[in-house]
């Protein structure tokens, strides 16, 4: 087991480095001269003074080869140094550590909500396959999957104000126990819930035809116990493997949800950085987002043999 985890980890690290290299290269070759980018915003005419530019380039180490610069960027990352923002001059690490808790709390709540809501719904839909209940659940899941967060968010806000007259617009951040969190949390969870409902339903339908379910029913085990003990346990495995995909939908959704509901998280930071073409911030957030997804995938890889002892390390379900 330890050996399996070690192998997975050993394969994982180069993948992370390569994703970082790809993202870094895009920013490096696309962004243009960083010194000009910085000093174009500054007063004075440094940007048009070639000698001073060369001097700064020398002192900042920007005349070194690409790979050396990439290496030192990674080295700085490991020491918690993400560079400075082009617009505000603040350290990117400070900006991110101020914003990240908001996003992380939201994401965790969203994953919890998804698990609590979606798995039972998927189970019910599959047990009542091809009935009205099933169609209703499946139809709503497809509907939720298709509605973008930036459409659902404002629409629900309008609805809320119309239904409860005098209620305030849920705008801003007051921690996860604040009532304003509810609407953004639901909107953020729509897509993950839809994903897991469909996944659970498909997995349950597959398990229903297994011999052990038939045996359990034949010997008179109550339907409730069959559903919880015999069906749900093998179903959880394929559902857990969706964690990486859920992470992607949450990271994507957070961009819109945070903007619409005015939450000071990483998503809003992304949009601000994009409007200001603030490369260090964009780069750092992209790396963090990819890292989250990849660490979820690694977690799935490590958990998989624990959940399904039949799986050896060549089999990796997606």
């Amino acid at each position: 087991m330890l050996r399996y985890i070690a192998t997975r980890f050993a394969v994982w690290i180069p993948s992370v480095l390569l994703v970082m290299l790809g993202v870094y290269a895009l920013a490096y070759f696309g962004a243009g001269d960083p010194i000009k980018l910085i000093f174009l915003r500054a007063p004075g005419d440094v940007a048009y003074n070639p000698e001073r530019i060369e001097a700064i380039r020398e002192s900042a180490g920007l005349n070194r080869p690409f790979l050396v610069q990439f290496g030192s960027y990674i080295w700085n990352l490991l020491h918690g140094n993400f560079g400075n923002s082009l617009t505000s001059g603040r350290s990117v690490w400070a900006m991110i550590s101020a914003a990240a808790p908001v996003s992380f709390k939201l994401a965790l709540c969203s994953i919890l909500l998804t698990a609590v809501v979606a798995i039972p719904l998927g189970l019910i839909a599959a047990l009542k396959q091809n009935t009205r209940t099933d169609y209703a659940i499946l139809g709503s899941a497809l509907f939720l999957w298709a509605i973008p967060a930036y459409v659902a968010g404002p629409m629900l806000m309008v609805l809320l104000i119309m239904v409860i007259p005098g209620s305030n617009v849920p705008y801003g951040w007051g921690g996860i126990f604040d009532v304003r969190i509810l609407l953004p949390l639901f909107v953020l969870s729509f897509q993950p819930i839809a994903l897991i409902v469909r996944q659970t339903r498909a997995a349950v339908i597959e398990v229903l035809s297994e011999d052990f379910v038939r045996t359990a029913r034949a010997k008179g085990v109550p339907e409730m116990i069959v559903a919880l003990r015999h069906i749900l346990r093998p179903v959880l495995t394929p559902v857990v493997t969706q964690l990486g995909l859920i992470m992607i939908t949450i990271v994507n959704g957070a961009i819109f949800v945070e903007l619409v509901f005015g939450l000071p998280g990483l998503g809003r930071l992304t949009v601000q950085a994009l409007t200001n073409t603030d490369y260090p911030v964009i780069l750092a957030i992209t790396l963090i987002g990819s890292f989250l997804v990849m660490i979820s995938n690694l977690l799935v890889d490590v958990l998989y043999p624990l959940l399904d002892p039949r799986a050896n390390d060549t089999r990796r379900s997606r």
């Binding site: 993948s15 993202v23 696309g30 404002p154 629409m155 994009l274 073409t277 987002g289 995938n297 997606r318």
Partner: protein
């Protein structure tokens, strides 16, 4: 089913039901899928002929009638420049379909080629392709687009500008091509991995099926095996993926416009209209509601259709 004595029946030779006919029958029984198909056909018709049917020009401004609520003259009201929102939504259908079709086509070509090569040849090629798809899929796709756009937009625009100054060819002045190139290109670059993965899995599983071995044992040529057995069996899931992908691409385009990296105004696109509407939705909710509802409808329709096609083309429920 009733048991019929074999000896006394004349077995009527019915014409064989083809795969597609069979799938069509199954699709028609699925009410959600029929609804989806209806909406998709209606939208496609609108995209083709809509601009000739609109009551107003999508660009004509009427500054005396700004931000009007929906009425009989202006079904969806007017926007901040007095333009008819209904006409703009209709014209936006064309943009949406253009983006969806072009992006999906590019993504399918890349994905199918890579996936088929990987599945067919295996070995190191397979490993490289799969690793590439894994990499692309582990970067959250909106962030990847943000990076691509932030990095490529300014070099391409400045290159176009220098070409224009050097040649004075008006072609280089049309920044709209840069926009489309960037939007289409970056969307296709993040959309191909699912297709590659799907086709590879299909090719791998079909190659080892007994009916392929049987066909080979019968001495059929590779071409016939490919055309009659491999292609139809791999096509079903691909059609499902494409149908769902078209809807996803439409949503993606609007997400880009929302972030300010999509198709540029004044070309009407649903995403543009939504992001404009978001700024004023407290005062003029119809400016947000109209394009958002149409986008939602289109996306839901494609997703219902894709799901119905999935059940119709893969009857064994292999999801």
């Amino acid at each position: 089913m009733t048991v019929v004595p074999m000896a006394t029946t004349d077995i009527k030779e019915e014409p064989p039901v083809s795969l597609w006919r069979d799938a069509w029958f199954r699709l028609r029984r699925n009410r959600l899928a029929v609804f989806g198909l209806g909406v998709v056909v209606l939208l496609a018709f609108t995209a083709l002929f809509g601009p000739y049917l609109t009551p107003f020009d999508f660009l004509s401004q009427n500054l005396d009638a700004r931000n009007m609520p929906p009425s009989l003259t202006h079904l969806f009201g007017t926007d901040d420049l007095g333009r008819d929102v209904f006409s703009r939504v209709i014209f936006g259908t064309r943009t949406a379909f253009l983006v969806a079709i072009v992006v999906t086509a590019i993504a399918v070509v890349i994905g199918v080629t890579l996936g088929a090569l990987a599945g067919f040849f295996g070995g190191w090629l397979d490993r490289v392709v799969m690793w590439l798809t894994d990499m692309t899929m582990s970067i959250p796709n909106l962030l990847l687009v943000v990076v691509i756009n932030a990095s490529l937009k300014s070099p391409i625009s400045s290159w176009m500008e220098s070409r224009y100054l050097a040649t004075l060819n008006p072609f280089y002045r049309e920044t709209i091509w840069v926009d489309f190139l960037l939007v289409f290109g970056s969307m296709a670059l993040i959309s191909w991995p699912p297709y590659a993965r799907l086709v590879r899995a299909q090719v791998l599983s079909i190659r080892s099926r007994p009916y392929i071995t049987a066909a080979q044992a019968l001495g059929l040529t590779n071409r016939i095996i490919l055309m009659r057995y491999v292609v139809p069996n791999a096509l079903g899931p691909l059609i499902v993926a494409v149908s769902a992908g078209l809807g996803t691409a439409m949503v993606l385009e609007s997400a880009f416009s929302f972030l300010g990296v999509g198709v540029n105004p004044p070309t009407p696109s649903w995403g543009n209209m939504i992001s404009d509407g978001l700024r004023v939705w407290q005062h003029y909710p119809h400016l947000l509601a109209a394009p958002a509802a149409v986008l939602g409808l289109a996306s839901v329709a494609f997703s219902f259709l894709g799901d119905g096609l999935n059940d119709a083309l893969n009857p064994r429920g292999a999801k």
